[in-house]
């Protein structure tokens, strides 16, 4: 195997002490960049690019790509802890990662996120190592129609995401499309919906919307619910990593699916953000615990993180082999290659063997180093939640404001972010789902562009969307997912008689109503149980911290338990008689 030989040579290049130190520095810087919302991998690499001019190209790319890996890892941290996605592709991580943190399982969520990222990246690197030339040719098959099909598939896999009314999902998504359409219409080259305001030239940047909707919205909700983070009571357990690893193994199916989605989206090049959304949407559909998604399901963290990292890594493949960047960060790296006198493109693998294989070897090593760095810091990161809200909330606000400002270096964006924050809060109060809105802002204009480019090329004929096997199969897959809610509805309808037989649903009447009623009652039931527990704790004043108080509390609890157990035993006897 020629590849293995080349790779071993690559390891020899990458594994010098100097390069290892650069890797470590890169990862740490990357994590910091990933944590700061708005700064982003692309900006981070651009800022640090000049630092690398004095190095050899191989060392430079090792450090810069490690910044990139670090940013991919780091994006998950703030998403999980504070509901603030540091990077666009970690938005989907907030959906379940943050509820996990609220339940005091931040360490598990972080471990799951980091480990999944690593797995995703590893699979993508293996792909790059052995299939680069083959895969690169596949990317060339993607024209506008194919791109639109991919975005369509992403939207379709997300339909039925919201817990509430489907109409609220549609309303939220349409608002996202409208916001995404503001600014320059790339196909006609004219401005639309800016109403003469220069500030709106850029449209509504996705990052600003996300920082506001999620980050600020979350702070507003926390303020309402008592000026503290739920989940702050979590004890710090150092065995969290090993414990979580055991459970991760049971989700192998989700991992494999997410890897495939991620690699595919990275190469095509749809990018890490759509990959993470699509992977989350599909995991929700296929998981046994799908109904629990959004409430703190570990699978909801594994799916987007694996896919985002697989996509982020495989995005470097089209860059190296074709000279087209698969992500903004890859674009900046591409600029770096030129300054070092390397010409990215089909011949890079032939002309610059040492460089390319050094880079690929550093992908393996960088991810291993990265995983070790972030995993050792898990207890540290989870401890941040224990800092009092009154201290951490202003810090988060400032970081959010800086993040929003950094996107375009404009103060207007900071106000915009605050506006989005209020909107996020209102959405939450009115029970409108945010994910469809965000998804539409991110991908709406890209999908529109692909759609219109395809129609330009086909002279307005819609048949272009099933004109070849590739685009037709992606569109077909999208259509199946789009009608999935309908299919599962039919399935449920069939299941009703069976449920009636078991006494789950009783009486006559419209069976669909019965199912809806059942779901509502179940939800209410679960809510009441939760509230009851909280009320009991409040009522009995069971919030002890010192030894003496804890002893007293435990006595109260024991007494209660004894009483309940007695009552249960009595009632059993009664029924027995």
């Amino acid at each position: 195997m020629e590849e293995i030989n080349s790779l071993l040579q690559g390891f020899a290049v990458a594994l010098t002490p100097y390069n290892l130190v650069l890797m470590l520095v890169g990862i740490v810087l990357g994590v910091i960049i990933g944590v700061l919302p708005g700064l982003g991998g692309a900006n981070g690499v651009a800022i640090l690019l000049p630092l690398t001019f004095s190095m050899s190209p191989t060392s430079a790319i090792i450090m810069l790509s490690c910044i990139y890996w670090g940013a991919l890892f780091g994006g998950a941290i703030t998403s999980i802890l504070f509901n603030i996605p540091g990077e666009p592709w970690s938005v989907a991580t907030t959906f379940d990662g943050h509820p996990m943190a609220q339940k005091g399982r931040a360490d598990e969520a972080l471990t799951a996120a980091f480990t999944s990222s690593f797995v995703g990246a590893l699979v993508a690197v293996l792909l790059i190592t052995f299939l680069a030339p083959l895969v690169a040719r596949f990317a060339l098959k993607f024209g506008p129609a194919e791109f639109f099909a991919v975005y369509f598939l992403t939207f379709a896999s997300f339909i039925g995401m919201g817990k509430g009314s489907p109409f609220k999902v549609i309303a939220s998504m349409c608002l996202g499309f409208a916001l995404g359409a503001v600014g320059l219409d790339k196909v006609t080259g004219t401005l639309r919906m800016t109403f003469g305001h220069e500030e709106l030239l850029n449209g509504f940047d996705f990052l600003i919307a996300v920082i506001g909707l999620f980050g600020i919205g979350e702070i507003l909700s926390s303020m309402e619910s008592g000026l503290k983070f739920s989940g702050s009571h979590a004890t710090i357990r150092f065995d969290a990593v090993l414990r979580t690893w055991k459970t991760l193994l049971t989700y192998w199916a989700t991992s494999i699916r997410s890897c495939i989605i991620g690699c595919w989206m990275g190469i095509t090049p749809g990018g890490a953000t759509p990959a993470s959304f699509m992977s989350y949407g599909l995991a929700k559909k296929f998981s046994k615990n799908g109904h629990n998604f959004g409430k703190g399901e570990i699978e909801g963290v594994i799916a987007p993180e694996t896919a985002a990292h697989a996509a982020g890594t495989s995005a470097l493949l089209p860059m190296l082999t074709l000279g087209i960047p698969g992500s903004p960060t890859a674009a900046v790296l591409l600029g770096g290659l030129m300054i070092w006198g390397l010409q990215p493109g089909p011949l890079l693998f032939v002309e610059q063997k040492e460089f390319v294989w050094g880079l690929i070897a550093s992908m393996y090593l960088g991810n291993v180093v990265g995983l070790i760095v972030v995993l050792t810091c898990v207890p540290l990161f989870s401890a941040i939640l224990r800092v009092p809200f009154s201290i951490i909330a202003p810090v988060i606000l400032v970081i959010c404001a800086i993040g929003a400002f950094t996107v375009h270096n404009s103060m207007f964006d900071v106000w915009l972010m605050l506006g989005f924050g209020v909107m996020g809060y209102v959405f939450q109060k009115l029970d409108y789902p945010l994910p469809p809105l965000v998804l539409a802002i991110v991908l709406g204009d890209k999908a529109e562009e692909g759609f219109r480019q395809a129609l330009l090329g086909s002279q307005g004929s819609l048949t272009i969307f099933w004109s070849n096997p590739l685009v037709a199969s992606i569109m077909g897959l999208g259509a199946i997912l789009l009608f999935w809610p309908l299919l599962s509805w039919i399935k449920e309808r069939k299941a009703v008689p069976a449920m009636q037989a078991h006494g789950v649903v009783g009486g006559a009447g419209n069976s669909q109503d019965q199912i809806g009623r059942l779901a509502q009652l179940r939800q209410r039931n679960a809510e009441l149980k939760q509230k009851l527990a909280a009320a009991m704790i409040e009522h009995d004043g069971l919030q002890a911290t010192t030894i003496d108080q804890l002893e007293a509390d435990n006595r109260t609890l024991e007494a209660r338990l004894e009483r309940y157990e007695m009552e249960i035993a009595n009632s059993r006897k009664d029924r027995g008689n």
Partner: protein, 342 residues
């Protein structure tokens, strides 16, 4: 004949006199000013494109050769087809710590969108080079020359040929409209993409029939044998004679005119500053860019991208820009690309 780019040679003598007059009038324009804080280098385009590559390259050259005491920080402000970046520079009246690199959107964006700015709102510093445009087709396409290409368009169905390009109502589409005059009455379908790299890849994947990519955007695919260069939209052939592909150098690409496609177009790669800056501040940057252009790195960059190395500054540059704006106005008016009220 279609001449899209007029050299400013005719006015050079007059300009020279003006320059002398200016020098006599203000003898104190000595190089005393220097930046006192980091200099922001605005790129009015997204990352990865030609302007971005050049700006980041310049940033690298400055850092590598220690040409400035203060750091130079390149930032992308590509919103609204570059309007974001230009408005930003325009707004910072008198700020000598902001410079901007231009592409043709300096002219096309205000004309097509009606966003209120023009080059007159900025202070011209230097022309760094003129970027070339080349007519590319997939190497598996049957056309070996621009003439065969034009004949094929003429013989085919109307709008059957697809031209991929960067942006809408910008340089690539302007050239396409000019080509359509030669292929009349047959029209070409222009499909706008986000960036030059994507355009070249679409051509390799045969999703479009041709492109007018800048050399630097397509060179790697050309080298690898995936693309064929039919002609260059300049008045004369490129001066770079070193072989790029196995048997072709940039100088081997015929001009479009000599292949029967009489269209010429080049794009300004220049530097501008905010309005209201002092002459000694402009002079500092003129000198800085002279130093940059004297480096070996720059010369290699020029050759890699087959740039036309015309450079100028001062009033000569100003006159050139004025003429070039007029040219874009006329072209866009003819193509009906102007925003209402322009």
């Amino acid at each position: 004949m279609m001449k899209l780019c007029k050299p400013a040679g005719a006015v050079a003598v007059k300009l020279g006199l003006l320059l002398i007059a200016a020098a006599v009038a203000s003898p104190a324009v000595a190089q005393t000013w220097e930046p006192t804080k980091p200099v922001t280098f605005v790129i009015p385009a997204g990352s990865g494109g030609g302007a971005d590559q050049m700006a980041r390259f310049i940033q690298g050259v400055v850092a590598k050769n220690n040409l400035m005491k203060q750091p130079m920080i390149a930032i992308n402000k590509g919103g609204g087809a570059g309007a974001e970046g230009f408005l930003d520079v325009k707004k910072n009246n008198g700020d000598a710590h902001t410079i901007v690199i231009t592409l043709s959107n300096l002219f096309t964006t205000p004309l097509a969108t009606g966003v209120p700015f023009s080059w007159k709102d900025l202070t011209p510093v230097s022309m760094l080079a003129l970027d070339q445009f080349v007519l590319w087709v997939n190497s598996e396409a049957p056309y070996k020359s621009a003439k065969e290409y034009v004949d094929a368009v003429k013989a085919g169905d109307d709008k059957k040929f697809k031209m991929g390009g960067t942006g809408s109502k910008q340089e690539d589409q302007i050239i396409t409209v000019a080509i359509e005059k030669v292929t009349a009455p047959k029209k070409i379908t222009y499909i706008p993409y986000a960036g030059g790299g994507a355009v070249a890849t679409q051509l390799v994947g045969k999703h479009v029939d041709s492109t007018v990519n800048n050399p630097i955007e397509a060179v790697s695919q050309w080298k690898a044998g995936a693309l064929r260069a039919l002609c260059i939209f300049d008045s004369k052939r490129s001066i770079y004679t070193a072989k790029v592909t196995q048997n072709q150098a940039w100088s081997d690409i015929p001009t479009c005119k000599e292949s029967g496609l009489d269209v010429q177009y080049q794009m300004l790669r220049g530097i501008f500053m905010s309005p209201g800056v002092k002459p000694e501040q402009v002079a500092y940057y003129v000198e800085l860019f002279k130093k940059i252009m004297a480096t070996d790195d720059w010369k290699k960059f020029m050759e890699d991208g087959a740039f036309n190395q015309t450079t100028m500054s001062g009033d000569e540059f100003k006159t050139w820009v004025e003429a070039n704006e007029k040219l874009h106005y006329d072209l866009m008016k003819e193509a009906a690309f102007l925003a209402p009220g322009k």
